[in-house]
Amino acid sequence: MRAACCEATVLSHESILPDIRLLRALWPDREHAPHAGQFFTLRAWGADEAPFLSRPISVHKWEPETQTIEFLYQVIGEGTHKIAQLKTGDTFQLTGPMGNGFDIPALAEQYHKIAVVGGGIGTAPMYQVTRELAAAGVKPDVFFGFRDTPYCMEEYRSIANVVKVSTDTGAVGFHGFVTQLYDPADYDAVLICGPTVMMKNAARICAEKGTPCFVSLEKKMACGIGACLGCTCETKGGEGKSVCKNGPVFDATEVFF
């Protein structure tokens, strides 16, 4: 099932922290329902307005009954600033779902102890991941690292076994790296999204302990559907893969080598 391009309507838009927003929108296209780890591209400005490219944001939460999709995002530059201007009732261009996402049915069948690891805004897709895992019968352990202030952690209690948090500043939870919160040896699989250095580090430790590790990558994207080859990442095989189409989720050993 490929992506659709629709006009979506804003249901609500909350400030979670000064630079963190939670956008709830009505996704009108029932045929194209997203799953965990997939993303959409958002455009809250005209095709003839800057920035030129639409902005990819992961599915934070998807409620099929109400066709409500939630995006948790950080306001960084021009694109996310313009998205942040959206008000309840506004419409915007939403294209997706895109990407492979995490193959939750396969993961839940194959692995029983799963660690879900997120860093900063990289935690955004992990909520839907955790929900789908729980729904598939495998409540994961959740380990999140933030700089200073954790956010959007409340709803994990019911769908995760364990929820642990670290912060760089020590303001909340463990004072240190998220990788210090868990030992990959205790898990059948580790699913990670966060800053590249963090993912590389985590993937290296997993590799050392022999634990399968799946990472969700980020690359600048133009088409989001494998058509432009702008988001190619290097792969062990050397042939290169499109993060938007072959990813964003990869077996860590394929992309960090």
Binding site: A3, A4, D48, L53, S54, C223, I225, C228, C231, G240
Partner: protein, 308 residues
């Protein structure tokens, strides 16, 4: 209702709107996103004889009303294309009538010829010879600058290729009219222009060029007025059809190219700002024509040149 049907080299297309090489994959990627019955053709991602990874480092950079890309002709190679992707294109053609165009780049004359010979035997409709990619260090570009070099490679490819041959020009050509005449004389059946404009961006924080190759290719609405000028020159220089592209994002943009004399148009970067750009452009063209009592594109093609 206005009729957008367009005859390009014997192929009757649903509309003059063709997906530009490198921006629409091999078509299938956009199948669910856009209404292909309104799209005239698809020019597939640029091929080289042997598959290649393309460029490392940054590949995309936004600029005012434009996009710089440094993909570097990442592609699976001509034979893989014929075995796999071409079949997808032909399926689209069967379903919607979209003409299948193979875009061929190369690093040497031999490679061009060998690639063209393979495509000549395939089921592809048209071969678009890309002598203008600014993103490959050796080859491509060199032929795009000098008319004699271009004529030479086109002549060799022409001899090796029975397919209708459209030659895609670079805006870096020293002299557009001379370049057009040279490729026409060498046997090109049509000309498409322009490819991307050689451009540069510097990352202030890193204090170095954004792209590993320093230069990369600019396209999008920013370049449209320059591309239109070149298309105007091309139409005036040759008697073969000219396919115009560069920054087309609306029906009005496309009509400017048609009024300058272009037979058809291609749409590249605009697909990224609106995945339905090609369909929208075709719709807007028809709307303008309806509002102005224009029934076919023939009525207005080249009309802006009358005063010349």
């Amino acid at each position: 209702m206005a009729d957008l049907k367009t005859n390009l080299l014997g192929f009757v297309m649903n509309s003059p709107v063709i997906g530009a090489s490198g921006t629409v994959g091999y078509g299938v990627e956009y199948e669910e996103l856009a209404d292909f019955s309104k799209i005239g053709g698809i020019s597939g991602k640029g091929l080289t004889l042997h598959g290649q990874y393309g460029n490392k480092g940054e590949r995309l950079w936004e600029t005012p009303s434009g996009l710089i890309n440094s993909i570097g002709l990442q592609n699976p190679g001509v034979q893989h294309f014929i075995d796999v992707e071409l079949n997808e294109m032909l399926e689209l053609k069967q379903k919607y009538g979209t003409v299948a165009i193979a875009n061929l780049g190369g690093h040497s004359e031999e490679e061009y010829v060998e690639g063209a010979a393979l495509l000549s035997e395939s089921a592809v409709d048209i071969v678009e010879l890309n002598i203008s990619c600014p993103n490959v260090k050796v080859g491509g570009m060199a032929y795009g600058v000098k008319a004699e070099a271009a004529g030479e490679v086109v002549r060799m490819v022409r001899a090796a290729c029975k397919k209708p041959l459209m030659v895609k020009l670079s805006p870096q050509a020293e002299n557009i009219p001379e370049m057009c005449k040279a490729v026409e004389a060498a046997g090109a059946d049509a000309i498409s222009l322009t490819n991307t404009f050689q451009a540069c961006a510097i990352d202030l924080e890193k204090r170095k060029p954004v792209f590993n190759n320093i230069f990369a290719g600019l396209s999008g609405p920013a370049v449209r007025p320059i591309a239109l000028r070149m298309v105007w020159q091309a139409v005036g220089a040759v008697n073969i059809p000219v396919v115009g592209l560069g920054g087309i994002a609306t029906g009005r943009d496309a009509l400017e190219f048609i009024m300058a004399g272009a037979t058809a148009v291609q749409v590249g970067a605009a697909n990224f700002a609106n995945p339905r750009a090609m369909e929208t452009i075709a719709d807007e063209m028809a709307q303008w024509m309806d509002a102005h009592g224009v029934k076919t594109l023939e009525e207005i093609r080249g009309c802006a040149r009358n005063a010349e």
